[in-house]
């Protein structure tokens, strides 16, 4: 053992491609599963949530307008960057979830593989979700999926990294931008993911990461008039909160993905990929 004093990391939010502290100046203690102090994470405020929505909206036009191939390349680049930081994430996940080194590494490997899996969907989803429609008349008629817009994502509470990746990647690969609220007690892998995203050619604002209380941030995001959809995975344990958030979300008819009892290690299928898509149908007459 070297007796060198290590350099601790200041964990910060990731909003609009930058790493701010919470505007509130608040932090909260993050501990490992045994209660040992790990870091002080930013305790995001409602204002931070609103700022993140502004950043996500600003990024939406460019990201949704990028070619599917380009989005796929960028997501793949994220996976490459994750691979390079495999050990760091394994250590963070082991601390966060109280897993052995091997089990934590398996979670990280699964998360990276999942990111690669979703990256490949970018230029295929339109082919499984769209259709050419044989209407009874002289018209060209085509339905294609488009991203819903700004998606608020409450990340799973227990699966701090594999679960996190499993809710972010499917939302952004189709062109949505997201504001993600990390696992409340285990925010560090998510905050570190921000550092990876910042160095992966992903435009700033496509993913915005907030750590803090789901109870404090969920409400403002569910009620926000410029958020188009909300994924309630992180509220799974609290039926009252789910009901309150879904009720608030009705105010501008957000698309709501209700929480289910999800095994994040299982094959995710296409549910989350298709949840935040709109179908656009274009008609045009045919004729000479």
């Amino acid at each position: 053992m070297s007796d060198r004093l290590s350099v601790l990391k200041t964990y910060k939010l990731y909003v609009g491609g930058k790493f701010p502290r919470s505007e509130s100046g608040r932090v909260y203690e993050v501990t490992d599963s045994k209660g040992n102090w790990l870091a002080n994470a930013p305790l995001s405020s409602r204002k931070d949530a609103r700022d993140a929505v502004v950043a996500a909206r600003k990024a939406f036009g460019g990201w949704s307008g990028a070619t599917a191939y380009n989005r796929g390349q960028i997501l793949y680049r994220v996976a490459e960057m994750l691979e390079g930081r495999r050990e760091q994430f394994a250590a963070e996940v082991a601390d966060a979830e109280g897993l052995s080194k091997a089990k934590a590494a398996a979670q990280v490997d699964a998360a990276i593989d999942r990111w690669v899996w979703y990256a490949g969907w970018s230029d295929k989803v339109a082919q499984i979700a769209g259709s050419a429609n044989p209407v009874a008349g002289p018209y060209f008629n085509l339905s294609s999926p488009e991203p819903t817009g700004v998606v608020a994502v409450l990340a799973p509470q227990e699966s701090s990294f594999l679960g996190l990746v499993s809710v972010i990647a499917p939302a952004i690969v189709t062109g949505n931008t997201v504001v993600v609220v990390t696992s409340e007690k285990s925010p560090l892998p998510a905050l570190s993911l921000g550092e990876v995203l910042a160095t992966s050619d992903l435009p700033g604002g496509v993913v915005n990461v907030l750590s803090g209380r789901v109870n404090e941030l969920g409400g403002p995001l569910a009620a926000h008039q410029d958020v188009n959809a909300i994924d309630l995975a992180g509220a799974a344990a609290d039926a009252e909160l789910v009901k309150a958030l879904e009720t608030a979300a009705a105010d501008n008819l957000k698309r709501v993905l209700r929480p289910r009892n999800t095994d994040w290690t299982a094959d995710p299928g296409t549910e989350r990929l298709l949840a935040f898509l709109e179908t656009k149908t274009v008609w045009h007459p045919t004729g000479v």
Binding site: S131, V135, A136, N141, E246, T247, E278, T279, K280, T281
Partner: protein, 476 residues
């Protein structure tokens, strides 16, 4: 010289309306438990057509129980058998389409030309389309053996009573669900006639239940704890209330709500075709259309030419007896809706827009509103933001495609949009930029059972029609 049209009324002898109707529950017509009834009138002359039952909570519960009981066997039927029932229904609708068209025009006020040539053919086609899906669900992209949800509670509007019924019932039944459907308060009759078609088709009891009533009946239905699926077409305001009702439950929800569609005309568009599209876009069905092209966005350089042609065309529109085969614009569906249209049109004037309508004689009895357009409309005007749901067109202008897109998207709605230009690449660019579920290019207000329909943003979520329409009724 001008040609006068002789009256050409469709005979109403083809339809036999009973003086009163009960609720259709478990294959039988029955009075409401509370004994309450209400009258349905013809909006064209305020004649009372019939008296129908007002379903209360006890009736809702009985209908849901009947649907639940029928679900077990209906969902277990081989898809091919369910398909044959739906094919039978489609054929019966075709056989009785003249009767149903006349009935629809009487109860709703829409021109017979539209109920006969648009509504009824689409109703039959919708059942025919989804009949064919019933035994092919494993190929629809929702897993090898997708399951139905259970009992569907469906609430539909008055603008296309039978067509909205078809959009709701056909996919629900094809997927193996059973339904309790509430038609709109002002247009209950065609749904009750549909109950008779179910009887003629031999549809098992309880698979389709029809509850007539007002908004309170609809609210009871969507709140019933044993309903698994809620489908609603109507106003955005009610849609939001329903979304709050189902919050925190396992009920699957689809909503098809309001719109404020932009119909965008570029300077290279064929003006005559565009004018027809604009007229069809806003005056079809008296403008009682959620996807109506109620905002005309015209490129500044052709504004005068287009508006001249449009006004000329509007002057030829015939407003009057819905049963006259020459009628273009029928009656406004209800006194309440007429009042709403008048209030918004008055707001248009008081906020500074310029109102124009062709000279046209309106009948004395009934509810009528002349086709109207407003020029000098700004984006802040209420008539540019709020859904009027009547024959009122708001005209705005633009200079660049970017400006057209920004204005078109500048509402909380996102149901439909229209684009008129001869330039193909511009159509595709515009179609990409418009945040709307349906984009009609060089056409407008086209519908087909194979074509998914539904909105972005506050126009609701879920799709009706096509393969996409199955998802709303499957447990996926």
């Amino acid at each position: 010289m001008t040609f006068e049209y002789a009256p050409a009324p469709e005979s109403r002898a083809v339809v036999d309306i009973a003086p009163s109707y009960g609720l259709f529950i478990d294959g039988e017509f029955a009075d409401a438990a509370g004994g309450k009834v209400f009258k349905t009138v013809s909006p064209a002359n305020e004649e009372v057509l019939s008296e129908v039952a007002q379903a209360g909570s006890e009736d809702v519960d009985r209908a849901v129980k009947a649907a639940r009981k029928a679900f077990e066997k209906w969902s277990a039927l081989p898809g091919a058998e369910r398909a044959k029932y739906l094919f039978r229904i489609a054929r019966l609708i075709q056989e009785r389409s003249r009767e149903l068209a006349v009935l629809e025009s009487l109860d709703n006020g829409k021109p017979i030309r539209e109920s006969r040539d648009s509504d009824l053919p689409l109703v039959a086609a919708h059942f025919f389309y989804y009949a064919g899906w019933a035994d092919k669900l494993g190929h629809a992209g929702y897993g090898a053996d997708p399951k139905p949800l259970g009992v569907a509670g469906q609430v539909i509007p008055w603008n296309f009573p039978l067509l909205m019924l078809a959009w709701k019932i056909a996919p629900a039944l094809a997927c193996g669900n059973t339904v309790v459907l509430k038609p709109a308060e002002t247009t209950p009759l065609s749904a009750l006639f549909f109950a008779d078609i179910c009887r003629q088709a031999g549809l098992p009891k309880g698979v389709v239940n029809i509850l007539t009533g007002d908004g309170s009946t609809g609210a009871e239905l969507v709140a019933h704890p044993d309903v698994n699926k809620v489908a609603f077409t109507g106003s955005t305001e009610v849609g939001k209330a329903i979304a709050r009702t189902v919050a925190g439950t396992d009920k699957k929800l689809t909503l098809e709500l309001g719109g404020k569609a932009a119909n965008i005309v570029f300077d290279d568009a064929p003006i005559d075709q565009a004018v027809e599209g604009i007229v069809n876009g806003i005056f079809f069905n008296q403008g009682h259309v959620c996807c109506a092209g109620s905002r005309l966005l015209v490129q500044e350089s052709v504004q005068d030419e287009l508006l001249d042609a449009l006004k000329r065309r509007m002057s030829t529109l015939r407003v009057g007896d819905p049963l006259d085969k020459n009628t273009d614009i029928g009656a406004i569906n209800s006194a309440e809706q007429l009042a709403r249209i008048k209030a918004l049109a008055d707001a248009g004037e008081s906020e500074g827009a310029e109102r124009w309508a062709p000279a046209c004689e309106l009948p004395d009895a009934g509810y009528w509103f002349a086709p109207t357009l407003f020029t000098g409309v700004t984006q802040a005007h209420r008539i540019a933001q709020e859904e009027i749901f009547g024959p009122v067109l708001s005209v705005l202008t633009f200079r660049t495609p970017e400006e057209a897109v920004a204005k078109a998207n500048n509402t909380p709605y996102g149901l439909s949009a229209g684009v008129w230009t001869e330039k193909g690449s511009r159509i595709l660019w515009m179609a990409n930029q418009l945040r709307a579920g349906i984009v009609w290019s060089n056409t407008f207000n086209k519908f087909d059972p194979a074509s998914p329909f539904g909105g972005y943003k506050e126009s609701g979520f879920g799709r009706e029609g096509g393969r996409h329409g199955l998802e709303a009724y499957l447990d996926v």
